[in-house]
Symmetry: C2
Subunit: 286 residues, 2 copies
């Protein structure tokens, strides 16, 4: 097994990528915040057939965390991440220090309007601005031909897809399905925060999504009724403090009243101090 | 003389550039709003030795004009621009329609904080956000290895240099000196708006800059006195309505009180309905 390369500086990473591209090699990219789990590794597997060199970034991006959020306690384990990525046959890991990415006089931000201010954007002001900024930076550093993102963060996918298109990055945009634990809980680095008891309650998000999906599959076409079904499931777990449970368009995150084509069920809320999100795409048969 | 290529769509331009790069050719780029004059052509001359394929964009970018500004009457003459660029040995012109660059659901913006909100940014709110957004888009479409900008728009140079660095575009950033008419007026597509009488008054900007420079060269080290010298020249032409006349750091556009190293003298204002800007870099001897 070839030893994975670890890049710590922008210059090293960018010059390697530019060199690969001059050699006619296709570069694949999976941006992560580390604390890797099967969800991340499924994205690595997804990109591998589309590229000749596969880069994974590991960077806990401060600009996408609010002042009261979990930036400091977000799990970090670069050695374990490297081990998993070496097994997963990534070629390189880009893991810069914060000062490398955001020097003291840093001043440039990328923002997608409208889509960034609803749902996760409303609960976490500035979050998607931070996400867009770091991903635009990483795209220019890593110079990928193809990049993969997890459906788990559905609104992030919609925002970044829009940014990639609006700014004309010549990058193929892949989305990998949400990977779940056996009881349905979506894999997330933040699940590590949950106590055993909270962990058992955390399935409420997936159960709410499945209940809403069942309503649609059973023929319910009244959007309010579908939303109501989620709230009934939420109410079964008083420890869950929902931020929202809704049905939206997967591209615009506008609240749909017409139910046809692809719709997206989205839920988010807190269990104790831990904030969790989940979603489920549903095809509505005419 | 090889016939210049005219690209109207993002796809055509981007796939040509990506193909050139796969062939190992270096791409040079001069973004313009058209109505080309010797200032633009000097940038073409400046980039040519640094590249194998030279692209000039001609696009009057609506997002950098305020609602009360001159977007509609800004001079446009693509046939004359093409003729000049063919003479100037550019290889390709990218001249897209507005809807190609900003489709109806367009939502992504790039912004440089602080630097974008002073001087031109204060007089023209949103201007530099529009400039950064279009240049980031053009960088991704044209994929240049080297790009040139005119010193005439000194604050734009500072903002775009910061954006290029902050977002890690792998692009060599060249700045060409301001090209002037024989009486010192900086060349600008907007000079075409001036009546003969206004044209003769318009030298007030350059004369104010030269008066301030003369003060510094004569040994004046009190920044307020240097600014005062500009105001004396302004006062000689009551038709000139100054927005500012100042001395700043050329990178940060912070008002300098310490005079050493490189300083930048900047002036802006209106003559009748026409807004003009100019600047002069000065090396302060210790």
């Amino acid at each position: 097994m070839a030893r994975i390369r670890l890049f710590r500086t922008i210059d090293e990473m960018q010059s390697s990528s530019l060199q690969w591209k001059r050699e006619g090699l296709r570069v694949g990219f999976v941006p992560t915040m580390g604390a890797l789990h099967e969800g991340h590794l499924s994205l690595v597997d997804m990109v591998r057939p589309h590229c000749d060199r596969l880069v994974v970034s590991v960077f806990v991006n401060p600009t996408q965390f609010g002042p009261q959020e979990d930036f400091n306690r977000y799990p970090r384990d670069i050695d374990e991440d490297l081990r998993l990525l070496e097994e997963g046959q990534a070629d390189a890991v880009f893991a810069p220090e914060i000062e490398e990415i955001y020097p003291k006089d840093y001043a440039t931000y990328v923002e997608v309007e409208r889509l960034s201010s609803v749902y996760e954007g409303a609960v976490r002001p500035g979050h998607f601005r931070g996400v867009c900024t770091i991903v635009a930076k990483l795209f220019n550093i890593v110079q990928p031909d193809v990049a993969a993102f997890g459906q788990k963060d559905a609104q992030q996918v919609a925002v970044l897809r829009r940014m990639t298109r609006d700014l004309h990055f010549p990058i193929q945009f892949l989305v990998g399905p949400t990977v779940r634990e056996s009881d349905g809980l979506a894999m997330s680095s933040r699940n590590a925060y949950l106590t055993n008891e909270q962990r058992s309650k955390a399935t409420v998000l997936f159960r709410a999504l499945k209940a809403a999906e069942a309503c649609i599959l059973a023929g319910e076409r009244n959007a309010d009724k579908v939303r109501e079904a989620m709230r009934y499931v939420f109410a079964e777990v008083p420890e869950f403090k929902p931020d929202y449970g809704d049905m939206v368009s997967p591209e615009s995150f506008e609240q749909g009243t017409e139910m046809r084509g692809e719709v997206l069920l989205i839920v988010a809320g807190r269990i104790g101090p831990v904030r969790l999100i989940d979603n489920l795409p549903v095809s509505v048969e005419p």
